[in-house]
Amino acid sequence: MAKDEEFKHEVLRLAGEEVLTCIQCGTCSASCPTANLMNPSIRKLIKLCLEGKKEEALHNDTLGLCTSCLLCTVRCPRGIRPKAVVSALKDLAEREGVPGVDLAYEQLFLKQIRDFGRISELPLTGEFLLVFPRGMVQSMQMGLELAPKGKISLEMEKVRGRDEVKRIVEELGR
């Protein structure tokens, strides 16, 4: 199979065959709360996938701007889940090691789940700030709000069934 066809099929496998029925109406883009910052738009991103344009579909700021609000998904007149397309592309980008802060955050998040089964917000934030020091000001600001209220925990949360969780992440994530 040609490379662009291969990419298209991988997206369809992850996000659903119905993506093929996209009529490029733009309802998804019009519904998106961060559409004004996106280039390519969600509509265009789906077109890129269907054209097999892997490079453009994986290397862009659009993926990191999706808030997972699912408004595109509940509105799509074709029953496509545009958010699932974004997730599929993020999944592929993470596997291919595409650089980016958004992907870095997701990877740290998933790693903490894989190793501990739960998210501990403070250690996760700490790890993220090592790769994204620019987030420090915001994190300090929030920390100053939350710490006096007792809403920051130093505990590292863990489940007992860590082997099982690890299997879920590693075996189902292939």
Partner: protein, 280 residues
């Protein structure tokens, strides 16, 4: 009523008030909560592989035969999405192949729905009617999405609860608009702009309090409110309560039980108004 309780990861840190108020309200309503024995993270909005996210949810749901209740809309949406995905037998087979306890179906409810059911037609439990309190019902995204239970764009359940507590839901245009929370770590500015838009709209609409059903919405609108006020040189000063905190106030529970001292924007001035109006 006896329910399995899925607190979710934030219950241990930024959502401690959500957890405390959920437990207190359920106790007051005679609901017995059995915490899932070894619950794991639902993946929030950060697990891109759908099968992994489904597997994480399935592991939680396989731990009980009871109906599962959570107060977090993100957990709720993820469990519901997984229930839908697991209707596909191929998916269920793949997921069950890696689980110790196998998934065989589940029923998931949000605390909002449970509280409303318990309070319906049972007004004498409302010790502190929230008379004339103007409440902005803020749903955010994930209570109602994916669709199938509530209208994903024009839900009314929160307004129903607000009225049951004898408060006044305001007409809140942005009630199902995203708070920006899921991207606030890496896309600070984009997320802040969205959160500020929602807060400004609530101010304009005359809200005395915003009520949320999601800990991330609460974090964005409450913990960031002061920073957003400073950035935009304006005052918002609207407390942002979880639905469980608001219900708890009406049920006559105390600030400590409800974690009201943990809110960044203090709800105490609002509470005083509530008590004043009650005795008028």
């Amino acid at each position: 009523m006896k329910l399995a309780y899925y607190p979710g990861c934030v219950s241990r840190s930024t959502g401690k008030d959500m957890d405390a108020s959920t437990r207190a309200v359920c106790k007051a309503l005679g609901i017995e909560l059995v915490e899932l024995e070894d619950w794991n993270c639902c993946g929030a909005t950060h697990v891109s592989n759908e099968l992994v996210a489904t597997g994480l949810a399935a592991r939680n749901m396989a731990q009980t035969d009871l109906e599962i209740m959570t107060s977090c809309s993100i957990c709720y949406s993820n469990l519901r999405s997984a229930v839908l995905n697991l209707e596909d037998l191929e998916t269920r087979k793949k997921v069950n192949a890696v689980l110790d306890k196998k998934y065989s179906g589940a029923r998931v409810r949000h605390a909002l729905d449970v509280i409303l059911e318990c309070l319906a037609g049972n007004d004498e439990r409302i010790a502190v009617p929230l008379k004339e309190l103007k409440v902005a019902p803020y749903y955010g995204c994930l209570l109602t999405r994916p669709g199938g239970i509530y209208s994903p764009e024009f839900p009314t359940i929160l307004e129903k609860l607000i009225k049951t507590l004898q408060a006044e839901p305001i007409d809140f245009r942005l009630k199902t608009f995203c708070c920006g929370g899921p991207i606030f770590m890496s896309q600070e500015e984009a997320a802040n702009d969205i959160a500020f838009r929602i807060l400004s709209e609530a101010r304009k609409a005359g809200a005395e309090v915003i009520v949320t059903v999601c800990p991330l919405c609460q974090l964005m609108l409450d913990a960031k409110q002061k920073a957003l006020e400073q950035k935009h040189g304006t005052k918002i000063e609207i407390p942002v309560l979880y639905v469980t905190q608001l219900a708890g106030i009406a049920l006559g529970l105390g600030p400590d039980e409800l974690g009201l001292n943990m809110n960044a924007v203090s709800p105490m001035a609002m509470m005083e108004k509530v008590y004043e109006r009650m005795t008028e």
